[in-house]
Every structure is written in C-alpha cells, then in structure tokens.
Amino acid sequence: MVLLLKRSISNNMPVKKLVPLLSALVTAVILPLIFQNPYYIQIGIMIGVNAILAMGLVMLLSTGLVTLGSAAYWAVGAYASTLLVMKMGLNFWLALLVSGFIAGIIGLGVGAVIIRLSKVAFTFVTIIIGIIITLVVGRVDFFGGWGGIVSIPKPDPIPLPFSITIDFTKRISYYYLMLFLLLLTILVSFALYKSRIGRTWKAIKLNLQLAETLGINSYLYALLAFVISAVFAGLAGSFYAHTFKTIEPETFGFWRSIYIQVYAILGGVDFYISGPIVGSIILTVLPELFRMAKEIEPIITAIILLIIVIFLPGGLLSLPEVIRNSRGLGAKENLLPALFRRNKISRSKN
C-alpha cells in the first residue's frame, strides 16, 4: 500500500495537481457524514462501484481495445463471492480476494483467446461472452437460476482495538468499504499508468505496428490490461453482492456493459482516473433525478451521450482544454465555433 502510494505520488508530481485530488478525497469522506440519509449513501455506493468498473474498462481502452462485456467479470466476481460465502462458509474478506482472483483467472483464459482477434471482432466477442455468462448463470440451477440469489450475508465484522468493531449494520460502513476499494483501484491504476507498463499501453494504442517493431509484445501487454480490468470488476462484483444482498443474472446483462462504457466516454477516455469518476457520478445521479419518469430516462441519457460524442470527442473533462484552445486561436473565436472546428479537424483526418 505504502509502496503503491510512493509510486503513484512520485517526486515530479506538482503540488498543484495534488491539491484537487486530496480535496476530492476529503469531500468523499466527509459527504456521507453530512447527508446521513441512507438513500443518498446508497447512490454514493453505486457511484463507486460504477467508477471501479469504468476504470477497468478505461484501462483496456488505453491499449486501444474496446470491450462491451465488462459486466461479465463483475458477474463472475459477484457469483464467486456469493457461492464461496454461502455454500462453503468462507470468510467474506477471504472471498473478496478469492473472487478477484477467480475473475482474473477467467479473464486470463478468455483474453488469451480473444485478444488475437481483430479489433472489431474483439469488441463483438466480448459482447458474446457477456451474454454467455448471463446465460450460464441463468440456466444452471447451481447459480440460482434466473431468479437469482437472495439474502446474501453481510461482510464479517472487523475487530478493532479498544473493543470497537465495524459490524456493517449501517449503510455508511459499506460506503467507506467502497471508498477503500475505489482508492485501491485508483492507486493501482496510477502506479500502472506511471510505470513502463502504462507507457507501453499508450504506445500500443498510438501505433501497434511501430510498437511491435520496437520489440514490444503487444499481445502480452494487452492481456495484462485485460486481466487487471477483470480483477477490478471481480472485486467490485464481490462487494456489490454483499452490499445489495441480492444478485440476479439480469443485473449483469448486456445493457449494464453498455452503461459502463458510457460512464467512461462521458467523462473522457483520455482521463484515466477522473474520467470514469465524473462519468459515473453524472450518470448515476441523473437517473435517480428522473426516477419519476423512468421511461424517458434512457432517452435523456442517450441524448447527453450523443451531444458529448459529437461536440466534445474528448469527453466532458476535455471542455477546459477546448476552451483554452479556442482562446489561443484568436480573439474573435468564441467557444461554439471552436467545438465545430474540432470536428472539422477530425473529419479531414480520416
């Protein structure tokens, strides 16, 4: 943990960058203490789970591979943890680790086969595998069938010194567990992106042929990204199962994977850490606001996504950069033409 921290906050990282990060963390810690309503805390937990899943997806995207089946490993983690705890009586904390491990192993097996496909075929096959996993889970009675599994036990209490225990009776303790997992994900991602591995991923995305000419085994690096994102999803799945107490195959279906992808795109794909968080905050809170009109919620989500994709190709977080660029180009240009100009540039590129 300390090593991760050291690696992720290296010496050349300016203080200017550190301040917003720390303030965001402090806000995330304090916010549930102010809003004690369990409904809000529930939304907070969901934001965290979505952000972890989207971060895994972005990690794979940073190698240039688009996956539309990330919910599959989420399902693997959730079911593995549930079955380990309920049928084998394992401790939750051990099950959390083991389910992350199992998701990683399955990701390794699947990835070893499908990364060899061409990029479009890879995307298609991830969809197919997502469907296979929901079908297997739904069909086989051992996994609870289409009805799913209910009344999953809560995490085991953590004994602390001075006879205090965190026993997971309140919603808020789940929130802090989520925050811990999210932080772990962020730190691991930070460390990876800053290291040689992250730079290699970037190189593969920029120019696969050139990277391979320079002696990079792109297959192994892409596989590594695939496995790590599967592990993230597995951990999130285990946490999800024990927090929400019920799991059913429909939760992990195709549309879930689509939504995970949308979180990443909305925030901005090039913002590895902040993009997924911003995206998942917006798209988790927004549906809750439109809870009265559940039917039109997907339409509003879709329209927002469409606007972002057409006018802000870099995602919501690239807005400051677009504004800055528009200022640099001359005094007359304002924001709107700059947005259109960006599209024109990308048009001529193809």
């Binding site: 995207l61 688009v66 539309l68 086969v113 499908i114 060899r116 496909l117 061409s118 990029k119 479009v120 075929a121 995307t123 298609f124 096959v125 969809i127 197919i128 595998i129 469907i131 296979i132 079908l135 297997v136 069909r139 195709f254 689509i258 992808q261 949308v262 795109i265 794909v269 039917e295 039109i296 997907p298 339409i299 989500t301 879709a302 329209i303 996504l305 469409l306 994709v309 057409i310 190709p313 599209n343 990308s346 048009r347 193809n350």
Partner: protein, 291 residues
C-alpha cells in the same frame, strides 16, 4: 429423425438464416466501406418490421408495397443518421459505438413508449397457408421469405458488381484515400452505403413482420446474433456473412428442436470454440485491418 422433419428444419433454418444474412450484409457494408460501427442497425430492422406491420394492418396495404415503404424508411433513417451523426466520427470505433448506442437507445425507448412493450403479429392468409410437397408440410410464408431474401441478395450482388456506384464502393473499401484521389466523391458513397445498409436491415425486418411476432426488443436481440454472424464469417467479408448467417440459422433451427432451452447457450459456445481455431472467422483475412 424422419426425412420430412429434416426438410422442415432445413427450410426453417434457411428462412431464419437468410434474414440474418440480409441484416448482417447491411452491417458488413456499413463497417467495411463507411467504417462506421453501427449499433442502431438492429433498430432500423425493428422499425422496418413495425412499419410493415402497421402498413398492412392499419392501411390494409399489400405486402410488397409495404415492404417498399419499409425500405424507404430504412434508407431515409440511414442517410439522416450518417449526415447528422456518423459523418463526424467515421473510423473511430469507440465514438461510433457510443453514438450508435445512443441512437439505438432513443429509437427503442421511443417505440416502447409509443406502442407499449406488447408484441404484435399479423395474419395474412397466404402466408399462413400450408402446402404439402412429397409428404413434407411447409408454411408458404417461409418459402416466400426465402424467395424474397434471395431476390434482395442478388440485387445487392448486382449493385456491387455491375454498377458504377458498386465499383466506387469496392474501391473505397480497398483504400479510401486513393479512391478520393481518383475523383470518387467519398462522402457521397459513405452516405449511400449507410442508406443502403440500413435499407437492407429495414427490408429484412419488414420481411419477418408477417411471419413472426414483433416487439420493441427485437432490434437489440437481432444485432447480437448479427455480430456473431459477422465474427464467424470474418468481419467485412460479404461471402462470409452469407455462409455464417445460414450456418447460424441452421444452428438455431436444429438447436431449438433438439436442445430446446440450451440451444442459445450451445450456439454461443459453438461460436466461441470456432473462434479459438479460426480467430479471423471463416472468410477472414490476416492481411487487412479495419481499425
């Protein structure tokens, strides 16, 4: 298994498979020529089916003019979606995927709000008739469907091989830069391709409207199978899409008869195993990379 049953299953498989072939070949064109990853393709299929259904039931049209209008709707939607959205992100897998998913969500949700999530089915006398050929009972509608699909596919073949537009399309699919240097109006061809591909999806949807039950989920269901067809056949290979579409149709028709509930699972696993041995699909090439 008797011979009659076998023939029946083959005809059923062919009917389903040719529908997949039509939808998949539209998507192959869109992906191979215009470089657009179009998720909303399945929704065009659904809208084609709904259009045909309402034209037949409400306006009491014949099947053929109804199909023509469905085709026109598909062509129109494809062209509009290209000009409005895909034009700005051609060639970008992720952005095209996101935008087309958004379009697909809007269309599906609008349809299910307007029409409520109920299923519809039409009854046309000639389609539900049964004929007997040599002891085999067959539904006439299925045979008409097969016939129609064959006509549409041969029309597509003619368009691609024997017309100037088709030649331009093939040139662009090889190298769009060189094609535009040689004076081909690439943007126009992209536009036409999107319109043509979506029209194929819509007419396929229209063709199944008199035979099967239609609902607002059918678009997103068919698109997944079409993806599978494309992966099995080799992305952007039209002949691959034809072979794989019919193969998947047979797998479904035989699978539902012999395995019932596990048919889907079996089909998906079959495809997964096939991909282990043939990662680029049946007709895929190792030379060219789309993206």
């Amino acid at each position: 298994m008797t011979g009659a049953l076998f023939v029946q299953l083959v005809v059923n498989g062919l009917a389903i498979g040719l529908i997949y072939v039509m939808v998949a070949s539209g998507l192959v064109l869109v992906l191979g020529i215009a470089r657009v990853f179009n998720f909303a393709h399945g929704q065009f299929y659904m809208l084609g089916a709904y259009a045909t259904y309402f034209l037949i039931t409400l306006f009491e049209m014949n099947v053929l003019p109804a199909l023509m209008i469905a085709l026109a709707i598909g062509v129109f939607l494809g062209g509009v979606s290209y000009r409005a959205v895909f034009h700005y992100m051609r060639g970008d897998l992720l952005r095209c995927g996101a935008a087309s998913i958004a379009i697909s969500m809007i269309l599906q949700q609008l349809v299910s709000i307007v029409l409520k999530p109920t299923s519809y089915g039409v009854n046309i006398a000639i389609f539900s008739q049964i004929i007997e050929i040599g002891g085999v009972t067959l539904l006439v509608g299925r045979l008409i469907l097969i016939f129609l699909c064959l006509i549409v596919m041969s029309g597509l073949y003619y368009l691609l091989k024997c017309t100037k537009t088709g030649k331009a399309m093939r040139a662009i699919s090889l190298d769009s830069t060189v094609a535009s240097l040689l004076g081909i109006n690439t943007v126009k061809i992209y536009w036409i391709t999107l319109a043509l591909g979506s029209g194929l999806a819509a007419i396929a949807g229209g063709a199944i409207a008199p035979l099967f039950v239609i609902n607002s989920d059918m678009g997103s269901n068919v698109i997944l199978i079409v993806f599978m067809v494309m992966v099995v056949g080799g992305i952007e290979s039209l002949s691959g899409a034809v072979v794989a579409g019919i193969l998947i149709g047979f797998l479904q028709s035989f699978g539902y008869h012999f395995l019932t509930g596990y048919a889907e699972l079996f089909m998906f696993c079959f495809v997964a195993v096939l991909l282990i041995f043939k990662p680029r699909g049946i007709f895929g090439t190792f030379v060219k990379e789309v993206y």
